[in-house]
Symmetry: C2
């Protein structure tokens, strides 16, 4: 399995999601990854780019997104070469996105190593993150495998994916993966955490691009074949024509969970998924009454455990409310019990669209 590679390190940032679980603040026209959700001055995409560009030069960073969002990427990442934006003609989840990125990178550098990352995560210790990433690159350079980055759970979070550690390897902190579990029941999440055997799946993974293309050929029908060599123009035309033939699958479900050659690195950077109201609530520091206020003006009275995000200029007065999402953007106000709300939030977005039209999604 040792196949030491001389290839360079590349990064693929996945930024094509519609962000519907953060509706109504994240909207199809402007999903969360393009928003400065927390009022820090940088969007989630920019923060993800900033994090990687410290260890990987911009010309080796690719951003995968839908064509309707490509202009956001261009505007928000002026350092990124425009040709590194992979603008998909149709939404097809992350497996097709990663496949296209692999094809593109493979034709730049057949020996490339890649790290694939979502664009809606918080990393609290960037130094540790960089060290972990470079260690992981070292490993995939030497081994044909898929290597996921795991983080020790700090709470029994039912909203996350879990990776069960299998056989240890010669390297400290590096294990074979025994199983993946997506969004367990709360009781299982508690058992997982207490066992010490389960790690949060950050969704970030590393591999050689050639090996991932091999996995695609084995596991998923491949639309873009690495043997095909197109001009850029032909490639785009080919993608436009054929991308919709890819199955609508996530890279986790479509490849990582199907492979028996997956490893996990126990990472020690602080981490949080920022994809749902619940996960943001959990990740953020709490104010009085354990309320979380996102870049908004709120007066609370007799209220606890809420998360609130309002448009700039709006003030909310909240009395006697416990454990709710209060989120407003443009033409929609959502007031919703916080627990396990992700499915609800998506449903409400669809319902609002059905009743009132596309402007409400």
């Amino acid at each position: 399995m040792e196949t030491n590679s001389s290839g360079k390190n590349f990064c693929v940032i996945l930024a094509g999601g519609k962000g519907r679980r953060l509706w109504p603040c994240s909207r199809e026209k402007m999903p969360k990854q393009f928003m400065d959700f927390f009022g820090t001055g940088r969007t989630q995409l920019q923060q993800t780019f900033d994090r990687f560009s410290k260890i990987i030069p911009p010309e080796r960073i690719y951003v995968s997104t839908n064509q309707v969002y490509a202009h956001y990427v261009e505007e928000q990442l002026p350092e990124l070469p425009v040709e590194n934006i992979l603008a998909e003609p149709i939404y097809r989840n992350t497996a097709p996105s990663v496949a296209w990125a692999c094809y593109r990178i493979y034709h730049h550098d057949k020996d490339a190593n890649i790290i694939v990352s979502p664009s809606d995560q918080a990393v609290f210790n960037e130094e540790a993150f960089h060290e972990n990433v470079l260690n992981c690159f070292d490993f995939v350079k030497k081994n044909d495998c898929l290597l996921t980055m795991g983080v020790k759970p700090t709470r029994p979070e039912p909203g996350y994916g879990y990776i069960q550690l299998g056989e240890p390897t010669e390297l400290a902190d590096l294990y074979k993966v025994k199983s993946f579990t997506e969004k367990p029941e709360r009781d299982f999440a508690r058992m997982f955490m207490e066992s010490g055997e389960f790690y949060w799946n950050t969704g970030i993974f590393l591999t050689k691009v050639s090996y991932l293309l091999y996995c695609f050929r084995q596991i998923l029908p491949l639309v873009l074949n690495p043997e095909d060599v197109f001009t850029m123009e032909d490639e785009l035309a080919f993608v436009k024509e054929n991308f919709s033939r890819y199955p609508n699958l996530s890279i986790d479900y479509g490849i990582l969970e199907k492979s028996d050659n997956v490893y996990v690195f126990r990472c020690d950077f602080g981490w949080a998924d920022l994809g749902t109201w619940h996960s943001i609530y959990e990740a953020m520091s709490k104010g009085d009454g354990d309320n979380v206020v996102l870049d908004s003006e709120v007066i609370f009275e007799d209220s606890r455990d809420n998360i609130v995000k309002l448009p700039h200029g709006r003030v909310a007065i909240i009395n006697g409310l416990d454990g709710y999402i209060v989120a407003e953007e443009d033409n929609v106000l959502l007031i919703c019990k916080k627990g396990d709300s992700s499915a609800l939030v998506r449903k409400y977005g669809s319902e609002a669209r059905m009743r009132y039209g596309d402007d409400f999604v």
Copy 2:
């Protein structure tokens, strides 16, 4: 006491309130009486005017308001002669408003009878209302007294004022007043209702204008003396100069409750005060889950007993919420437990002003 009058019937509509108990939808710049709060196409002021103008000609209807709101009255009631708008230079509650109106009307017709009415009430049976009003006018024409209109309680409402019936008179449904009670404890309100002896105080009352001026002289120091005869110009200058010297008292507290010559007529028109979120909730017909939606678009799930008002164009999705006011207007969103919220709502308005400035009140 019988002093049959040949005077005509006049009406005084009180429309100077700031509507702070319906904050944030009612704002100091545009209080509730000038709003089409229920989306009927007519504002509360217009509806009150419409109700009276069927039995009293517009030239004998006066509207008392603050000078900053006078333009609303002019715009909303084009049928009303402009000189019938009594535009006060400073907010001084209703006793001073009624005193000025009395002075003005007295100089048109020393024998005038007047009906004084708030502008934030619902009357559900207008025919019965007109009949009751004309019967009341008949009585005050013949008797120097103050005559309040009472309505039989349909629920033990702690937010209303109550009038206790005293000695009956020769006329059916007409009683001396034994006592006034403003906003009783809930248990008292229940006893009041069960006793059959207490009626809701509508705040509407009738009298001869000369008699009311007499009461003012007896009970409250009078700034505008009926003996003074001014030109209109001088009157306005005098009011501007002296109005602030009036005590800040309601006509109920300042005159009606202090007089021992007050009667109550048991009226049978359906009636509701529309001055608070709670009273509006109680007055309105309920939808699914006993929610009340005021001219707004709301999707409820697993939610009961709420009252919601939103700006046009906004949609709210409300999940798992029971017994709240959800009210939004311009730059403020209020989410507040419904029970006994009036004092809170006023307080929040003040707090928002203190923190964020005058635009928030």
